[in-house]
């Protein structure tokens, strides 16, 4: 661990760590798996050694194609496949933000967050962020053990989706996160005062192109208005947004939020579906009552 901290320059990145199946519990038709609400994500400042510096120091020979990452965790039963993930060598060499982190928010990694070191793959789902990292290996083939295949796969289509209730013909590993945005304030079912300004607040993030714009609708998606963006902590981070809305009349209102990233990707009005319950990024909505 000392060498990790002293032999390599420390790199810092603020990045969202989100479960592939975050919000799976909202899929319809429902799918098996951990029935997450929207809470399987977090945003933190990570500090560690660049993975590409580590590879360079170790030396990758001609033909090195992928790198596998294993942690100290062991399966609950010996026949359960060990959790090992892989990244292409090129994915690591092209991206200085892929790091072996030993710090989270200025402190050593807590045990539950992967002490003493974990892989951080900004922009990609948490399945790659191997905790308690203990073994890194360069291989000359595509790694296809359980947690890369058949685990953590999405339909081989640009949307990563299929017709609800059907099975994909071909799958690929899940990788980059889709664009998401949330309304944190007001809470669902809140009562707000007619004619009084109501603060709307929340967060948005994507898979690494950065949030360029967040819009809200207070009429169920008919019209959209630009919101104010908060501090830019980098393209992998939560981006706060805020707006002020004055409810004109006593009524129930459907508030909605959608974000756009640096390459124009956004969110849809209809949820996309896949059998594993991954990639959810439908436009979120909150119903409030103005009285």
């Amino acid at each position: 661990m000392d060498e990790l901290k002293t032999k390599f320059p420390a790199a810092k990145v603020v990045a969202v760590n989100q479960c592939s199946g975050n919000s799976r519990g909202r899929f319809s038709p429902r799918v098996l798996g951990g029935q997450w609400g929207d809470g399987a994500m977090g945003n933190a400042e990570w500090v560690g050694a660049r993975m590409r510096d580590i590879l360079t120091r170790a030396g990758v020979r001609q033909g090195g194609l992928q790198v596998t990452f294993d942690g100290l965790d062991k399966p609950a039963f010996p026949t359960v496949p060990d959790f090992v993930k892989s990244l292409d060598v090129s994915r690591i060499m092209d991206d200085p933000d892929v790091i072996v982190a030993y710090q989270m928010n200025g402190q050593p990694l807590p045990m539950l967050n992967g002490y003493p070191a974990r892989l951080v793959v900004p922009g990609w789902y948490a399945t790659y962020w191997v905790k308690n990292l203990s073994e890194i290996e360069v291989i000359d083939h595509v790694f296809e053990k359980f947690w890369m295949k058949p685990g953590y796969r999405i339909p081989d289509a640009p949307c990563g989706c299929v017709e609800p209730g059907t099975a994909p013909a071909r799958t690929v590993p899940i990788t980059r996160m889709t664009v998401r945005s949330f309304i944190a304030v007001p809470a669902p079912g809140a009562r707000v005062a007619v004619g009084q300004p109501v603060p709307l607040k929340g967060i948005a993030f994507d898979g690494g192109y950065g949030i360029s714009e967040v819009q809200t609708s207070t009429d169920g998606g008919t019209s959209w208005r630009r919101t104010q963006l908060g501090a830019d902590l980098g393209r992998y981070s939560f981006r706060e947004w805020s707006a002020v809305w004055t409810p004109p009349a006593p009524n129930s209102y459907r508030l909605m939020v959608r974000a756009f990233n640096g390459i124009g990707e956004s969110q849809g009005t209809q949820p996309l579906w896949n059998p594993a319950g991954y990639l959810r990024n439908v436009i979120e909505q909150v119903d409030v009552q103005a009285v």
């Binding site: 661990m1 000392d2 060498e3 990790l4 519990g25 429902r30 799918v31 098996l32 951990g34 029935q35 580590i54 590879l55 120091r57 170790a58 030396g59 990758v60 020979r61 033909g63 090195g64 790198v67 100290l72 399966p75 609950a76 039963f77 010996p78 026949t79 359960v80 496949p81 002490y115 003493p116 070191a117 308690n132 990292l133 203990s134 073994e135 890194i136 290996e137 360069v138 291989i139 000359d140 359980f146």
Partner: protein
């Protein structure tokens, strides 16, 4: 081809770290009520066998489903994760799940 140096380097350092070498006993909190399996045929068998690997949270939270769904789940646990279940026990657990956590009527 293998970055053996790096693998060993990290492994050895981590294993040698005093924080890891020091063993600490930790008592885990009891499962919350939500995770308790509902009464039904072969409940105790399901409780014992499934908990070898996972909390019963992962049972009670799943979408309700018919025998076909639960048979596929139990079969996956055996074929993919190697759950050491006899054919009779697998059948009994499937029956428990399909009757206790069956489709809403």
């Amino acid at each position: 081809m293998r970055a053996v140096a790096i693998g060993c380097w990290l492994t050895c350092l981590i294993l040698a770290s005093p924080a890891i070498a020091q063993e600490k006993a930790r008592t885990l909190p009891a499962d919350h009520d939500y995770a308790k399996l509902r009464p039904g045929p072969h409940r105790d068998l399901a409780q014992t066998q499934c908990q070898f690997c996972h909390s019963t949270d992962y049972i009670v939270m799943q979408p309700r489903g018919d025998a076909k769904q639960w048979d596929a789940v139990v079969t996956k646990m055996i074929k993919v994760f190697g759950a050491p279940l006899s054919e009779a026990d697998a059948k009994a657990i499937t029956e428990y799940l399909a009757t206790t956590y069956g489709p809403p009527r």
